[in-house]
């Protein structure tokens, strides 16, 4: 049918749009020239050099570690906050939401520098913990913004019905509310993880003592020209995550087809 075709076509266009630069990025990781402006033939040398680069691998480690921890912590705090905010009166809700918007709307430099000053003021050494705290801070608003719409969509009476049927508030929350808002929680966590992976300015100003993330490494290289080792690293990361997603997806569809045939 025409509509089906349009849907598929549209999806194809949007995904091509999203993936075109990624494809370019991957192709140029095999470029023999160090410059993006010229194609000098196919080579694997950047991948080899990557394995010996202690700085980049250390940055990768911290990047992923901080992304995972900060997105999980932000999701927990943010979800709890969203549930609380949802039930607040109008004025309190507006106030808290407006403050929540601040890390989202402020330029990174302002958030980064103000957090840096805060950490220095309380004499906290800049390093892993300070960078982690900063990441959690800018992640939480996105979690709240993802979970809140799901809470608004909820049917209030379901919760009350559960309580009427004898459930404790905790049980009712776990069995009734949580499944309903789960898409929002997952969206929030995904967005938080994404933001954390790619942050430069805030990370730069809140870290120190040898703790660096990939973004800082890449931006610091910009003056000299981004080494295609980074392309190589990004390509590897992309393939790994893509494979993981495919594997998880296959396993899940196996489960469902088993369920269906049962």
């Amino acid at each position: 049918m025409v509509i089906r075709f349009i849907k598929r076509f549209y999806t194809f266009i949007i995904f091509s749009f999203l993936y075109a630069p990624i494809l370019v990025l991957i192709i140029y990781s095999f470029n023999n020239s160090r410059s993006r402006g010229k194609w000098s033939g196919f080579t694997l040398k950047w991948y080899v050099e990557l394995l010996h680069d202690r700085q980049i691998l250390s940055a990768l480690y911290y990047t992923i570690l901080i992304a995972i921890i900060s997105s999980v912590v932000a999701t927990v705090i943010g979800t709890m906050a969203a549930v609380g905010i949802h039930n607040m009166g109008k004025w309190k809700k507006s106030l808290i939401m407006n403050i929540t918007y601040l890390p989202v709307l402020n330029p990174d430099i302002v958030t980064g520098i103000s957090l840096m000053i805060l950490f220095i003021f309380v004499k906290m050494p800049l390093g892993f913990i300070s960078m982690l705290l900063a990441h959690i801070t800018f992640n939480i608003p996105y979690v709240i913004l993802s979970v809140l719409p799901k809470l608004k969509q909820l049917n209030k009476h379901l919760y009350e019905a559960a309580l009427d049927l004898g459930a404790t508030p905790a049980y009712a929350f776990k069995k009734v509310i949580l499944p309903e808002i789960m898409p929002g929680i997952i969206t929030g966590m995904l967005l938080a993880f994404t933001l954390s992976l790619d942050d430069f300015v805030i990370s730069f100003f809140t870290t120190g003592s040898g703790v660096s993330n990939l973004s800082i490494t890449v931006y610091s290289m910009a003056r000299r020209g981004i080494n295609p080792k980074i392309n190589a690293l990004s390509s590897i990361m992309f393939i790994v995550v893509l494979l993981l997603l495919i594997i998880v997806n296959n396993r899940m569809s196996k489960d469902d087809s088993i369920k269906e045939s049962a």
């Binding site: 010229k38 990768l60 220095i120 003592s209």
Partner: protein
């Protein structure tokens, strides 16, 4: 749902294992002294860090920054204590004025003797009390020989309407305003409002001819023949010429900017002796040669230069004569006048 959770947890664990194993090898719990070094990204041959660590038993923690200004804010705020930093000349002057660097005892840096006399005791650090040069270069015009048929020897060519939308300017206040000042015959460190106003008008006049105000991506663009003319630093010019033989670099006759990246010891450093050891190590002939070879910029080290490929050392782009740079100035810290530069730059870019 339960099975999905199990799969996801397994995936999560595998990722964590991979990540942790890539991070291992970085911890060393001996009572070594650690030296915190703060440098530009990709601005050192990493093997020299390893050889330094082996030779002196000092562990090096290496952090990178992307601009002088970022580095300045971090150091000023005082959150970390770096032992060696590699700022550019105008930033060194600012740091000296603001008491952010320690005096270096040149007696502890015997290798200092290898630095070319031309690059000692310059205006930004007279008597070299606070810094030791690391790399240097000039700012000039890079042009594509196949796209430019005029003689290129003056900043005027960047205002030539023949090259409309084929000119790349730097998205950097001091550099772009600076070269315009040079074109008009003024100093690129001027604070005179009339001169600055004249420069502003020139730049506004030029704006329709400019393809883009670029930053670091200028290298790839000129290699790809995207534009005919660009303002670039000599270090990058060396790289670009190698990748694209149609490119040529020239320092205009009105003069230009002479830049230096040098090593300093920030005030907060607790390891002055070790820092001086590191700086001295960087000035060792073999080490300086390795760095110059890897980075590809011009080294101020006389002996290291001798070890480099003569094709490079005879290239005026990398190693211009005294004659070529006689009208070049070093950037000075402008203090409060920076606000004027900023206002002008915003006005140029606002409309």
């Amino acid at each position: 749902m339960k099975k999905n959770c199990k799969v996801l947890t397994l995936v999560f664990l595998i990722i964590s294992l991979i990540v942790i194993s890539s991070g291992c090898g970085g911890t060393d719990n001996s009572n070594k002294i650690t030296l915190n070094v703060y440098n530009w990204g990709d601005y050192i041959d990493e093997s020299v860090i390893d050889s330094f660590e082996k030779e002196y038993g000092i562990k090096v923690i290496y952090d990178t920054f992307s601009t002088n200004e970022d580095m300045y804010v971090k150091l000023k705020a005082g959150g970390d204590s770096y032992d060696v930093a590699f700022p550019s000349e105008y930033m060194i002057q600012r740091m000296i004025n603001e008491d952010m660097v320690q005096k270096i005892d040149l007696n502890n840096i015997p290798n200092y003797k290898y630095i070319d006399e031309r690059f000692k005791n310059l205006a930004y650090d007279p008597n070299n009390e606070y810094s030791v040069p690391y790399m240097w270069g000039t700012l000039g015009i890079l042009y594509n020989k196949t796209m430019v048929d005029d003689v290129v020897d003056s900043w005027d060519i960047l205002w030539n309407e023949k090259y409309e939308k084929k000119i790349l300017m730097l998205d950097s206040q001091r550099d772009s305003i600076g070269i315009t000042l040079k074109k008009l015959g003024f100093s690129l460190n001027t604070k005179d409002p009339a001169q600055l106003e004249a420069a502003k008008n020139e730049l506004i006049k030029q704006k329709p001819l400019v393809l883009a105000y670029v930053g670091d991506e200028v290298k790839d663009k000129m290699i790809a023949n995207e534009a005919a003319l660009a303002v670039v630093w000599s270090g990058d010019a060396i790289f670009m010429k190698r990748e694209n033989p149609d490119l040529e670099y020239v320092i205009p006759k009105e003069g230009s900017n002479l830049w230096f990246d040098a090593m300093v010891i920030p005030k907060a450093s607790q390891h002055k002796k070790e820092a001086e050891l590191f700086i001295n190590y960087m000035c060792d002939t073999e080490v300086a040669y390795k760095n110059a070879d890897y980075i590809g910029y011009s080294t101020p080290h006389v002996e290291a230069k001798k070890l480099l490929d003569p094709v490079i050392t005879s290239d005026k782009t990398a190693y211009p004569d005294e004659e070529d740079v006689k009208n070049c100035e070093v950037f000075e810290d402008l203090g409060d006048s920076l606000k004027d530069y900023d206002k002008i730059w915003t006005e140029i870019k606002a409309y």
